[in-house]
Amino acid sequence: MNFGFTEEQELLRDQVRRFMQDACPLTEVRKLMKSATGTSPSLWRQATELGWLGLIIPEGFGGIGLKWVDLTVVLEETGRGLCPLPIISQTLAAAALLRCGSDAQKQKLLPTLADGSRVGTLALYDEPNWVHPDAVKLTLEGSRLKGTKPFVADAGAADLFIVACRTSDELKLAIVDRNTSGVSVAVQPMMDETKRIGTLTLDVALADAQLMPLTTDDLAYLSDCGAVAVTAESVGAAEAALAITTAYAKDRIQFGSPIGKYQGVKHRLAEMFVDIESFKSLSYYAAWTVDDAPAELPRAASLAKAYASDAFARIGIDGVQLHGAIGFTAEYDIQLFLKRSKWARPMFGDSDHHYERVAALGGL
């Protein structure tokens, strides 16, 4: 029985932390927020060399062949620093290929994701806040994929889009190359500038090699993987928000003492800690189920995301509020975490969705 991390995993964590401190501190993140793609080729190259992009891709396909628990370690640390690199999208694209792809498709594409030469993303739903097969609307007529796909994560940086669509009688995943005529991408202005979404406008003919079958189980699996990944980033980001606010509460003197001396402040910080510890535990469990207990994944993912969605959103708001006016300024970092918490809340299901799912899976 060992519900903790191995030495290797702790080393990986240190590695990511060093990377974030040296190469991608918040000053750098703020630059990238204003850039066109929202990401940076040089950081991308480093992440590639460190092997994070192919972490869950088997060695046979050019990856490292580790597990989602290892990925969690990476995402927790990149989330802590609001790293804008599209590691989640890259991983979900890989997960989609691994789950639904033919051997040929895997052979062709997984290595290009593992070596970072392609930036992948997975676009499942056409409705903004509905995790359900019926929320896949884009339709494939014969071999022609025509229409728009909204809410595509990391659309600014991605060049390999894996897009859910439907024929008259089944769901499919379409593999779309950014650099083909009939594909255009419009990046949308978002509250959280570290997370670009875009709208894909498509009018392309697809070869069979560009299509993968998608069962509703696959769809649920990929959504759960997304929920696990977002929750892992949220753990790190929430811990950073708590650390920033705690440090402020110790330094900020008002009426003669640090504001952190007053229970109105310190108790709220303690409650943040309780929440973070809790959805952290649930997030580790959920990550573990992906590879080691897939049957438990749906419930585990919903337990974690249900708790994390609302708790992190609350932490984002209270973190800013506990700072007083200063926290409210663009110059201060705490507000970046509030924006991240609002981004994370609905991704792959908000708390309404996941609590209801917990109830249903729990026999109600």
């Binding site: 409705e127 903004p128 806040n129 509905w130 359900h132 019926d134 929320a135 909204p150 809410f151 419009a186 949308q188 202005p189 978002m190 509250m191 959280d192 979404i197 709208t199 003197i253 008002q254 009426f255 003669g256 003492s257 504001i259 007053y262 109105g264 402040v265 959103a313 708001i317 800013v320 509020q321 007083g324 006016a325 926290g327 409210f328 300024t329 663009a330 110059e331 507000q335 509030l338 924006k339 609002k342 981004w343 809340r345 609905p346 991704m347 908000d350 309404d352 969705h353």
Partner: protein, 389 residues
């Protein structure tokens, strides 16, 4: 107990309604000419500074009439009665109470005519809600004060013409709150530098204001030297019933209802989702509570009883509603709700996303909820002070 107004008050309400009917076109047709025109007309009615004494250009309006005017204007979504907000809210009342005849003659009309806009220089870095610890220095030299120091969170400073400023003229006062002096300063005076502060919504409402050897004529001192504290406090204490605010909250609630009626989520209309219905109803109940709290406090005022700290009750409701209503709207619609103004799928052209980042002062400013809790606990419930206020 009755909600009827006296015939005189009813007549006043009819007058206001008639005026609005005659002079307020639908929102779409309100151009800048209209606004100038509107401002002149309400000014002629003496509805700007309505509560102020007649001799300074007000109408000496009763508390009940003030409430009626506020309510009707809010219901009609009318533009403000004047554009010198701080001037009307803080500076005017302060000058009326403490100003010299010259100061009244010089400043009041421009405020009433929306010719001069004001900002208030109270807060300083490191002394957010702790006004008594002001460090900005004012040194008397002949017929001038020479001001050096810095203010922060000065709302409206980027476009204000004048600032009402608290400076310390005595660093060793016998009484803690003495030694602070209130000055009226022209923002164009040499040595005044404004550095706007961008907030998390990308707006620049407030600013840091720096003062370097700024010369302020003694004639522009408001009240006695060293007594600026009482000037400010009586201005801050200038509480009004929250009728107008409540009407705005109800309007916001209506737009929120319109949103949930037009939002599909999880495969059905949001308005049919019982958790959404519950949330909206909770907002409505809170706002209704604010309304009837406000009417109870208004009644106290009408009976001439002093308003104690009860107004903190509605401030706490407002603080939570201002954050929660926008955040709820944003949360309804997932990523679409987070798209900004020109987003392809932006909800309400991004207005909810923007509002959810644009918290008003009641949330973030001086009187934050924790401070309101202390005020209630100490001044109303009589619990011991913990020194945090």
């Amino acid at each position: 107990m009755d909600f009827e107004f006296s015939p005189k008050e009813q007549a006043f309400r009819d007058e206001v309604r008639a005026f609005i009917k005659a002079n307020l076109p639908p929102a779409k047709q309100r151009n800048s000419d209209f606004l100038t025109n509107w401002l002149t007309k309400v000014r002629e009615k003496r509805w700007v500074g309505f509560a102020w004494p007649k001799d300074v250009g007000g109408a000496d309006g009763s508390i009940a009439e003030q409430a009626i005017l506020k309510e009707e204007m809010a219901l009609a979504k009318a533009p403000p009665l004047g554009t010198s907000f701080m001037g009307l809210a803080w500076v005017g009342p302060g000058i009326i109470q403490y100003g010299t005849p010259e100061q009244k003659k010089r400043f009041i009309p421009d405020i009433l005519d929306s010719k001069v806009s004001w900002c208030t220089g109270y807060s300083e870095p490191n002394y957010g809600s702790d006004l008594a610890s002001i460090q900005t220095k004012g040194v008397r030299q002949g017929d001038h004060y020479v001001v050096n120091g810095q203010k922060i969170w000065t709302t409206g400073a980027p476009w204000a013409d004048w600032i009402i400023l608290l400076v310390r003229t005595d660093f060793a006062p016998k009484v803690k709150h003495d030694g602070i002096t209130c000055l009226l300063v022209d923002m164009k005076t040499p040595g005044v530098e404004v550095r706007p502060i961008e907030n998390m919504a990308g707006d620049r409402h407030f600013a840091e204001v720096f003062f370097t050897d700024v010369k302020v004529p003694v004639a522009n001192r408001l009240g006695e030297e060293g007594k600026g504290w009482s000037v400010t406090v009586s201005a801050l204490a200038n509480e009004r019933s929250s009728i107008g605010e409540v009407t705005q909250m109800f309007e916001k609630l209506d737009t929120l209802k319109a949103l949930v009626k037009n939002t599909r989520r999880k495969g059905k209309l949001a308005a049919q989702d019982s958790s959404v219905r519950r949330k909206i109803a909770e907002f409505e109940v809170k706002i209704a509570a604010m309304k009837y709290n406000g009417l109870r406090y208004l009644t106290k005022q009408l009976k001439g009883e002093p308003l104690s700290s009860e107004t903190s009750v509605n401030k706490m409701h407002r603080a939570s509603l201002e954050v929660e209503m926008d955040d709820f709207a944003v949360s309804l619609t997932g990523q679409a709700g987070l798209e900004l103004k020109d987003g392809a799928e932006a909800v309400g052209r991004g207005k909810w996303a923007k509002a959810s980042l644009n918290w008003p002062n009641v949330v973030i400013g001086g009187g934050t909820p924790n401070i309101q809790r202390n005020i209630i606990a100490e001044r109303i419930l009589g619990l011991p002070k913990d020194g945090s206020d």
